[in-house]
């Protein structure tokens, strides 16, 4: 797997590179900026994925988000994994809404765990989505007024959480050890209870579920 790492902190960049190399990932480029040079590097190298910090110079606001959108738009074969210090779902939803394929959003704490980082990278490379489980947990934990979530069974709850993380049906049925058919029954039930449009592809399904959970 060929990956480019874009992170403005040299220390963290070094840590990430080491971590990825430990996992056998080929780091083909590093950048401290989320600028045109990064985009040119990505276009030249055509890596499988870009690991991108959301807060990048010069303003340390939304440079990472804009770079993620630009990369997803220019290089369809390249996935983007956005790293964030804080639980903040707006940026993730914004990127997901534009390019549902090959995008992931991970909390920085998560990357310390090599397995989780590698798993998320693998999924965006495969064109799937990856949303940090912490974010999903937090969204699900929120108490809501008259929430339809209260009507879900615990199994349906699990299914919803895994869908929100961007997992595919195969991954979910493997994780929950249920048959594909049973899973589909659960999914239909969840969508019906939440009043959402069913039969969405996994990528677009993430957006629908996240939007629902944030509302």
């Amino acid at each position: 797997m060929r990956v480019i790492v874009a992170e403005d902190s040299a220390l963290l960049r070094q840590g990430l590179v080491r971590l990825l190399e430990d996992c056998g990932v080929d780091v083909v480029g590093e950048s401290g900026e989320a600028d045109d040079a990064l985009l040119a590097l990505v276009e030249a190298e055509r890596p499988d994925a870009v690991l991108l910090d959301i807060r990048m110079p010069p303003t340390h606001t939304d440079e990472g988000v804009r770079a993620a959108e630009a990369i997803l738009a220019c290089c369809p074969g390249t996935g983007v994994l956005l790293l964030s210090q804080y639980v903040e779902t707006s940026a993730a939803v914004q990127v997901l809404a534009r390019s549902p394929r090959g995008f992931g959003y991970l909390l920085k704490d998560r990357v310390a765990d090599a397995d989780e980082l590698f798993d998320a990278l693998r999924r965006v490379v495969a064109g799937e989505s990856a949303v940090d489980p912490d974010i999903v947990t937090r969204l699900l934990r929120r108490r809501r007024v008259d929430s339809a979530l209260d009507g879900l069974t615990s199994r349906e709850h699990q299914v919803l959480a895994l869908m929100a993380e961007g997992r595919s049906n195969e991954a979910i049925s493997r994780r929950l050890q249920v048959s594909a058919k049973t899973l589909e029954t659960h999914i239909r039930s969840v969508f019906a209870k939440l009043g959402l449009e069913p039969d969405l592809a996994a990528n677009r399904r993430v957006l629908a579920v996240l939007t629902y959970l944030r509302a």
């Binding site: 220390l11 963290l12 840590g15 988000v65 779902t89 704490d109 090599a114 937090r138």
Partner: protein
């Protein structure tokens, strides 16, 4: 004289009330004397009333005009006209000398009237032509009247005077007794009078045509007068041409002619009253000028009130000169003929000038009032500018302090993010890499220690993250108020519905709005035991409006009694009222308003309006 009100100390050149009373007495006696003489020769009461009315009307209006415009000769001229009016009546006296003088000056009132018409309203002739015509009038009476009186025998030529009195006189000046010669001289004298009257009329037309609107308004009474005079002259001419044909119509035409004669001085009086009305409209000027925001507006108001469309308001410029409201420099002396300049002094030198038609100078009190209005406007404008400046400054200080405080928070959060958080994260990564590399037979206690260190590091990271977010929420700068409020709601233990219009605002406005919601939510959670919270943010016109409503216990402390204590996250609010007091300060520092409604047991509603241009 300028700059003093009409009621203040009299400047030099004014008429004392004693002089006015004296002249009034003279006019009164002259009228009574004239009438007595007139009555002696059998004048009807109606004639006496008419005669007195006209003469006294002139004298009275003259006295009024003199009192009000001491520097103007119009008043004395009107008075002179009134006195001259009675002069001819003395022909009714049996005193030869008085009879002779009276007969000589019988037409003097016509010359004075011509003089009056030609110099009204300035009181002095402005062209050589006018002066010549006036002089010709007096010359005609002095010379022509004298020649005529030298030949005048009242016993023989009684029909040539308006006083039909063969018993009057005798004429002390009579030197030659020749009826034919007298008739010829009398005819020439009268025709010369007609010609002169036409000349006066032509001169007046010329004056009218070159007059501005303001001057024409003042000239109006003299035009009424000249119209009437021309009617008399026309009558005179017709009478001279065919006396027999008109003698029967004489009685019919006498009444309107008499009324119109009385009307002349009355019209002058009315003109004076109109001047008073103009002054009354200065009151309106005050009201309108108070609403005039710019010098150009004020100039327009002055033009309309003073009736001078050529009026220019000049304001002092930096180099000591004056410029009109459009910034064009004014020349001194005034470039236009017939215009004068009035200075408006606010106590710091002449700050403004009014360049206006000279005719307005005939009512100095009116100009004084207009000047006072300009002066007030200037002071008002200066005060307004100072007040605005002070208010701006007063607002800028807390605003800058708040901005600096927010900036410090932002920097602190950034330092934490780039420094401690990053280093801890790196350490966590390193520690995580260590775990798998421990030999499989490693001491379980060692593995446990590594795991404990890792867990401790995670907690430290989490606490640091919460702390940093409380100091300044990164998402606010990243994605704006809406996403920041959503993120806040996502972390709130109480269900929160957020309705936020998308859109970015100035960082200061976004940060203030964010902390308003933050504090309100903290209050709802910690003190009000709310079960649900609603947050709303939208732009209304040029204001960002954020509202937070909860269903808690309400009864938030009175804002004014609480001390200020700013709070930035759910964990740091000390008491429900103090945090809100701090909020009110922050909101007012950015020029906004904060409303709180918190009836006991009925929830709390907080609304902040922040200006956002």
């Amino acid at each position: 004289m300028y700059g003093k009100g009409p009621c203040e100390e009299r400047p030099p050149g004014t008429v004392g009330s004693r002089a006015l009373v004296g002249w009034g007495a003279v006019a009164f006696v002259a009228g009574l004397g004239g009438c007595w003489a007139y009555a002696r020769i059998g004048a009807e009461p109606v004639d006496l009333v008419r005669d007195l009315s006209v003469g006294w009307a002139f004298a009275a209006s003259g006295l009024v005009a003199w009192a009000r415009r001491p520097a103007n000769r119009t008043g004395p001229l009107l008075l002179a006209e009134g006195l001259a009016w009675f002069l001819g009546n003395l022909q009714g006296l049996p005193v030869p000398l008085l009879f002779a003088i009276s007969a000589w000056g019988e037409a003097l009132n016509m010359a004075v009237l011509a003089h009056l018409l030609l110099v009204f309203p300035d009181g002095r002739a402005s062209t050589a032509r006018e002066r010549r015509v006036i002089a010709a009038g007096y010359l005609l009476v002095a010379v022509g009247g004298l020649i005529r009186v030298l030949l005048y025998d009242p016993t023989a030529d009684s029909s040539t005077s308006y006083l039909s009195c063969p018993e009057c006189g005798p004429n002390a000046f009579l030197v030659l007794h020749d009826t034919d010669l007298f008739d010829a001289v009398d005819l020439v004298y009268r025709w010369a009078g007609v010609v002169l009257t036409v000349l006066v009329a032509m001169t007046m037309v010329r004056r009218w045509r070159t007059a501005s609107r303001a001057r024409r308004r003042v000239l109006l009474p003299s035009w009424v007068a000249v119209g009437l005079t021309l009617t008399f002259v026309g009558w005179e001419v017709l009478y001279l041409l065919m006396p027999e044909a008109l003698s029967s119509a004489d009685a019919v035409l006498t009444v309107p002619s008499d009324i119109s004669e009385v009307a002349v001085p009355v019209v002058f009086l009315v003109s004076l009253l109109r001047m008073r009305l103009r002054r009354a409209s200065v009151g309106d000027l005050l009201v309108t000028a108070g609403r005039a925001p710019t010098a150009r507006d004020l100039q327009e108001v002055l033009r309309q009130t003073l009736g001078d469309s050529s009026l220019v308001l000049g304001l002092r410029t930096g180099d000591g000169g004056y410029a009109d409201p459009d910034g064009r420099p004014l020349t001194a002396p005034p470039a236009r003929a017939g215009s004068s300049v009035t200075h408006v002094d606010t106590g710091q030198g002449a700050d403004a000038v009014l360049e206006h038609d000279s005719a307005l100078g005939e009512d100095p009190a009116l100009l004084a009032a207009a000047g006072a209005v300009v002066r007030m406007w200037l002071r008002d404008a200066r005060l307004r500018a100072q007040a605005d400046e002070r208010a701006d400054k007063a607002l800028m200080v807390p605003r800058r302090l708040l901005q600096a405080a927010y900036e410090e928070r932002r920097q602190l959060e950034r330092d934490l993010h780039d420094g401690a958080q990053t280093r801890l994260l790196y350490t966590l990564m390193t520690l995580r890499r260590l775990g798998p590399r421990l030999p499989s037979g490693a001491d379980p206690a060692l593995r446990r220690t590594v795991a404990e260190a890792e867990e401790s590091l995670r907690q430290a990271l989490e606490e640091l993250r919460d702390l940093a977010r409380g100091i300044h929420p990164a998402v606010l700068g990243q994605s704006g108020l809406g996403p920041a409020l959503t993120a806040l709601a996502e972390q709130c233990p109480v269900p929160v519905t957020v309705e936020a219009e998308p859109g970015r605002y100035q960082p200061l406005v976004e940060t203030t709005a964010y902390f308003v919601v933050c504090e309100a939510m903290a209050n709802a959670v910690k003190h009000a035991a709310a079960r649900c919270i609603e947050v709303r943010s939208r732009r209304i016109g040029t204001r960002l409006v954020v509202e937070v409503a909860d269903d808690g216990v309400g009864g938030v402390d009175d804002l004014s009694s609480a001390t200020s204590s700013s709070s930035s996250s759910f964990s740091s609010s000390s008491s429900s009222g103090s945090g809100l007091r701090g909020l009110a300060d922050r909101v007012s520092a950015v020029g906004g308003t904060l409303e709180v409604e918190s009836p006991r047991g009925k929830g709390t509603w907080i609304r902040a309006e922040l200006p956002c241009e």
